[in-house]
Point group: C2
Chain length 402, copies 2
């Protein structure tokens, strides 16, 4: 398996082109509307937010996947406006976006997936969106995938693109993805936005199974601020220009593993670029009664404002970590707890804290490290990737809408 | 019912005295150790944190209430060190504190409640604590209750004291309390620390029932940062110098109502003085399937970092409020949602947002207001009192331990 992340798009899977334009939806002087197009009908699968306040494009994309039997030709996405909490007009607008793309490409509207990200509760400026769509097709080319990655950014500080290639029995397969995150990041079944592509020849069902499997420990295992978005969506489209992958084959197992690696890489990029974030911290809880309880404790630690500010302050304030675990609902006896920062033992059973502040500081001043809490009463384990809580987060979110 | 909050202690219930000294436990040049003493054995009741990482003084106080049959003579509390996650040595230290107080007052150790607040995971400097206890008794007087309220502060910016008086059939009864909050505030069964006093002649069982009833909509309905502490404790001690209150009487109903009013007032003071807080915001969810679902949605909104930063930024970012409700797990149809800031309609059914930014701004710039979200599918209702998330919170908690 070889990974490529230096921004060149040479290894992007065959069978796709991308385009991006500035439509002035909210941002000016930057691209905010992108289009991903397949050369031929392609297998697709997607996971969507479980938030009850679900955005219009999510409703539409789920419907289009059903109506097209998961055979997709294009994906259009805007930033700066989430088209969420926009009622019936919002649903109409999402459909109009799909219809406009379909007309430009001479395909069926149900072959178009639609996504949006940005402010909730405002109607899309449809005139500018339609103007943008009419000029999008002219920008379609292979090299524009990085422009597309830039066009879906909101408060992200860099575009997120990654490709990997793996050798299967039938030849090499490429897996690639663009993603955006930043705020309202605590995905539940999908992340803010991640659009994955592969050249594998694979059925929508197998794609969906692989996507769901990979999602659990990648996008569903990250948090920036604990707020699950109304617009979360991760999709994968397979152009079929590469080797065929069949159910139950060793190739499929390898494909699933590679997809999970791609998704995990993109998920971590989202945390690294979380609003105001300066640290990427893996929070592992093991020795829990079961995986569910381990995840409960890991999520509670990862969401604790007191833990996140201590991480920001590079303070070895381990008491906040065990206090968060203690309120999580996970079962344990506090006398059994063991805590490590990377490999450094911080707390031994019996609540014995005996560590060198210098050694702890050498870890806490790093950009990335892991916190491991052992509950000591079972085989359950989970890891959540989180970041710190900084004054920049407050700055960004005190004034985001206006 | 007459309320008194101007700081004079003249109305403090009869039968108590208080003292406070500087013991240099963590803070210097301020009082950090306090003692509350009853003139005679007194009925008591208390509620304790449900955090699994429970502090040593909580374990000891629960045991002392049991062993003394809820007949209490004194309560000692220090700030600057929580005596939490301190293992067997911490339990020994809490007992030594009770024994030292008992010796000074010539009472039994099990008649002493012990509480601590401050940093987790450090052993108490017992020599300084015991020096402090030996000089505490000389400071005991009626007027020192305000000094005691000051001595339990950590990052609080003002001492919290309140007294109210109500006329019952047998004469007037006084109810009073001191409290501290600030950070790690999301009480579960009790708040950080609140020590209540009354002169009523009432059994421990009736006191406990009244305390539990009052707690639900007061201390258990506030949050600063969603972190339930290891040291939460709310206690009430009745000196019995006033009129007798019996089970099932109208007086008991009035007493319970007054106790809830006292607890609610102190709980709101804790939110107002939350770390870095500048706003007190009541979050009411109604029209839920039941009260539990309403509370689920209200708590999720109250804990959302995105909602709290928008409140701080005085931004009418209503989309974040319904997005938080949408991920809470509470059942509703987004088309039915109605949202108000105070009496101003922000969102009408059908996701129709039609409000004047000026009118919204006039509310959001206030120090205190209410947000009411109607889910529209049942009779359930709940209110949680929350505050904003500011850069000061990050500052305070990035460097609290060191």
């Amino acid at each position: 398996m070889t990974a490529e992340s230096d921004g060149t798009t040479e290894f992007w899977p065959a069978g796709f082109s991308a385009g991006a334009v500035s439509a002035n939806i909210k941002y000016s002087n930057r691209r905010d509307l992108m289009l991903l197009v397949t050369d031929a009908p392609a297998s697709a699968a997607a996971l969507f937010t479980l938030n009850r306040c679900v955005a219009a494009p999510i409703v539409l994309s789920r419907e289009h996947l059903n109506r097209s039997s998961s055979s997709i030709r294009a994906l259009v996405c805007n930033s700066g406006n989430a088209n969420a909490a926009t009622g019936k007009k919002g649903l109409d607008d999402a459909l109009v976006m799909a219809e406009a793309v379909a007309q430009e490409l001479s395909i069926n509207p149900e072959e178009v997936l639609v996504a949006s990200t940005g402010v909730i509760g405002q109607l899309l400026p449809m005139e500018r969106v339609l103007d943008g769509i009419s000029s999008l097709v002219a920008t379609l080319q292979r090299d524009s995938v990085l422009d597309a990655a830039g066009a879906i950014m909101t408060t992200d500080t860099f575009p997120k693109f990654f490709t990997l290639e793996l050798l299967l029995s039938g030849g090499s397969v490429r897996l690639s993805g663009i993603a955006k995150g930043s705020g309202m990041i605590c995905p539940n079944m999908a992340t803010m936005l991640a659009f994955l592509t592969t050249d594998a020849a694979i059925t929508p069902d197998l794609l969906h199974t692989a996507l769901k499997k990979g999602n659990r420990h990648s996008f569903n295992a990250i948090t920036v601020d604990g707020d699950t978005s109304t617009n979360d969506m991760v999709s994968i489209i397979a152009s079929g220009t590469g080797p065929e992958i069949t159910a139950g084959s060793e190739d499929y197992t390898l494909f699933c593993d590679a997809l999970e690696a791609l998704m995990t890489f993109l998920a971590k990029l989202i945390v690294i670029d979380g609003e105001g974030a300066t640290k990427l911290v893996g929070i592992t809880v093991n020795g829990a009664v079961d995986d569910r309880e381990a995840e409960l404790a890991a999520r509670t630690i990862a969401h604790s404002s007191l833990v996140k500010t201590a991480i920001h302050g590079e303070d070895a304030n381990w008491g906040r970590i065990i206090a968060a675990a203690g309120r999580s609902g996970a079962l344990f006896n506090q006398e059994d707890l063991e805590l490590h920062f990377n490999d450094l033992s911080i707390l031994k059973p019996g609540l014995l804290a005996d560590f060198s502040e210098e050694a702890a500081s050498a870890i806490l001043t790093k950009d990335a490290y892991t916190i491991t809490l052992r509950l000591g009463n079972g085989p359950g384990e989970a890891t959540i990737w989180s970041c710190d809580l900084s004054k920049e987060y407050v700055d960004i979110n005190g004034s985001y809408r206006s």
